[in-house]
Amino acid sequence: MEQATETKSPEMTERLLPGQAPVLTPGHTLETITDKIVSLVLRRPVTLGWVGGFVFFFGLMNVLLFAMAYLFFRGVGIWGINVPVGWGFAIVNFVWWVGIGHAGTLISAVLLLLKQGWRNSINRFAEAMTLFAVACAGVFPLIHTGRPWLAYWLFPYPNTMGVWPQFRSPLLWDVFAVSTYATISALFWFVGLIPDLATFRDSAQNPVAKKIYGLLAMGWRGSARHWKRYESAYLLLAGLATPLVLSVHTVVSFDFAISIVPGWHTTVFPPYFVAGAIYSGFAMVLVLAIPIRKFYGVQDMMTMRHLDNAAKVMLGTGLIVAYGYTMEAFYAYYSGSGYEYFVLKNRMLGPLAWSYWCLILFNVLIPQLLWIRKVRQNTLALFFTSLVVLLGMWLERFVIVVTSLHRDFLPSSWGMYTATRWDYAIYVGTLGLFFCAMFLFVRLMPMITIFEMRMLLPQSRVTTEAAHD
């Protein structure tokens, strides 16, 4: 019996709503996709803009190295932390960076399992973003320990002290959550890269580049057996990474929620941290995607559809975050605990009230602009809204960490927190590290997944006729 062929017309494309941009601008063939992405790295000359940007962020990264060297020399006293605010910028920045990483995992793992085709052009650089964001985040737990050369004490190993780390502490759960996250993200990213690295190996003219890409491609030949194994491995890793989207920031929120500090001890923290993480992560995706698609001319692969979808995810998660703020305020009132109520009042009217109201403005009010289609279609407006959200999410962690601590149970121990120049230097320095790595990434690796883009083409659909050939 003859099976009916799946489709008659080779021009089969997805159905679009009126006014909706396609995921891949029509007109591409299998060859042009490969050629375009390969040429971005292998044939495009190093431009002055790239060099300028790289040098700038490399300089910032050196600020980080310098500030860390001084920190190791002098100790954490150079920071603004003191009793009662023992957690300052280090924790704020750690949570912020870990959160940013979440969008990459969500895009690559969750949207893969949900078969969202639009993820295909942004997943690669979003995964790279995750990896670099986790690296930046990882800096802070290490350097905030005071004696970073003993940071390996955080890991359970048969040490000469004869004791294990405190398994009941969420700070130890953090170690596992973040190290698992870093491992899975790196594996996921690398496994996804292998077929594309093989394409680079085959296209590269420079013999040294050929060898390096060849080494990284690990002997990929693109045989059916390779693809079958690749697909299973990738799906398995996606399955492993999916719970991490929820678990990592849940554990990070436990650092606060498990304690009894008013303003931290709330059950809403895990879901609201996870939503906030995805919120800031998508903001960072947009902050990176908008310039990349412009400067590298890949608007046909990262279309307005991608930006629109990312903006909608931002809007959705932003509303969850806003719900979190509302519930925090409601709990403070409804708990009947004088301390909880005081923390709320102090946040809204206390000496750091500016940070709370800026947070509400940046995270709740301004992002409501995304309801408007015109804003979502305007790359510049989208870019600045994303920057505002990133700033707002940073302020959120600042509000949580500092305003809860600086007025604790005993008025006699109240204090103020002021960040020093070294706090700022290290924060700005991690931005340097992050963007420096991103600059290198777009020059050296395929920033868009070649084979997954090709799968979006109608030609890639296997018809039964073709399969019988």
Partner: protein, 252 residues
């Protein structure tokens, strides 16, 4: 298309995967071993002293009790390092001209104490008290080793925290009685067993009998129900491992 790697690259890749794993595990293992080795702990390494004082000769050869020199070991946190006068009790009479002992005589003449190098030196963040250990029944050589067999002094134990905890987690394993039933044939049985370098814990072939309140109790095992250690934990009111392994027992 020409191959960019030779066929052998396949084997090298496989070997390096396994080799990398072995390398990482090996390095970690080496680090852990090195950390416990005498290179770091100085266990068994004699340090230079102003006078090469032989414990072996004084303890085993002459039969001097530990407390003759370390006078405060039962009543103080610090066991005490003897003043030069203690040395001169004997050495004003014997070996008076030995060149090796010149620093001792000089110290006695000038009143400037000898500066010994501590062999068993705990870090300052660890609180240690000799008297509680001695009074609860920890023998000298449980920690210091067979001092009567050491020509020059060294620390027997690693002095690492896991070593401290090995007893604090199970004190019954090491406790010994102060007094055992005297055996005229064995002079060591007459004295305090804490200071008996050759003390042997009870076993079925070597029962230990203690006398308490005129009653004799014989033990044939150290641990377990009916063991001597188990009995001494109760009799000496040794606090529970939960208490004596609490952080602030030693890190005050």
């Amino acid at each position: 298309m020409a191959q960019i790697f030779h066929r052998s690259a396949n084997s090298i890749a496989r070997a390096s995967t396994l080799g990398g794993l072995i390398l990482v595990v090996g390095l970690l293992w080496t680090a852990l071993q090195l950390q416990r080795s005498p290179y770091f702990t100085y266990a068994g390494v004699a340090k230079p002293q102003p006078v090469p004082f032989p414990h072996q000769h004084h303890v085993a050869g002459l039969g001097i009790d530990c407390r003759y020199c370390h006078t405060t070991v039962e009543v103080s946190g610090f066991a005490g390092v003897p003043p030069t006068k203690t040395c001169m009790n004997c050495h004003s009479q014997i070996w008076t001209a030995a060149p090796m002992l010149e620093p001792v005589r000089e110290s006695y003449r000038t009143g400037k104490p000898l500066v010994w190098t501590r062999a068993n030196d705990l870090p300052d963040f660890a609180y240690f008290d000799h008297s509680i250990h001695v009074n609860k029944g920890v023998g000298c050589n449980s920690c210091h080793g067979r001092v009567d067999k050491m020509p020059l002094m060294y620390n027997e134990a690693s002095l690492q925290m896991e070593w401290c905890l090995s007893c604090h987690r199970a004190p019954e394993k090491v406790l010994r009685p102060h007094h055992v039933k005297a055996d005229p044939a064995d002079p060591a049985s007459l004295g305090d067993q804490i200071f008996n370098m050759a003390y042997e814990p009870p076993s079925s072939s070597h029962p230990v009998t203690i006398v308490e309140g005129g009653q004799e109790k014989t033990f044939t095992s150290q641990t377990g129900p009916g063991g001597l250690g188990t009995y001494l934990v109760q009799a000496n009111h040794v606090r529970s491992p939960r208490d004596i392994t609490s952080c602030n027992t030693c890190h005050r």
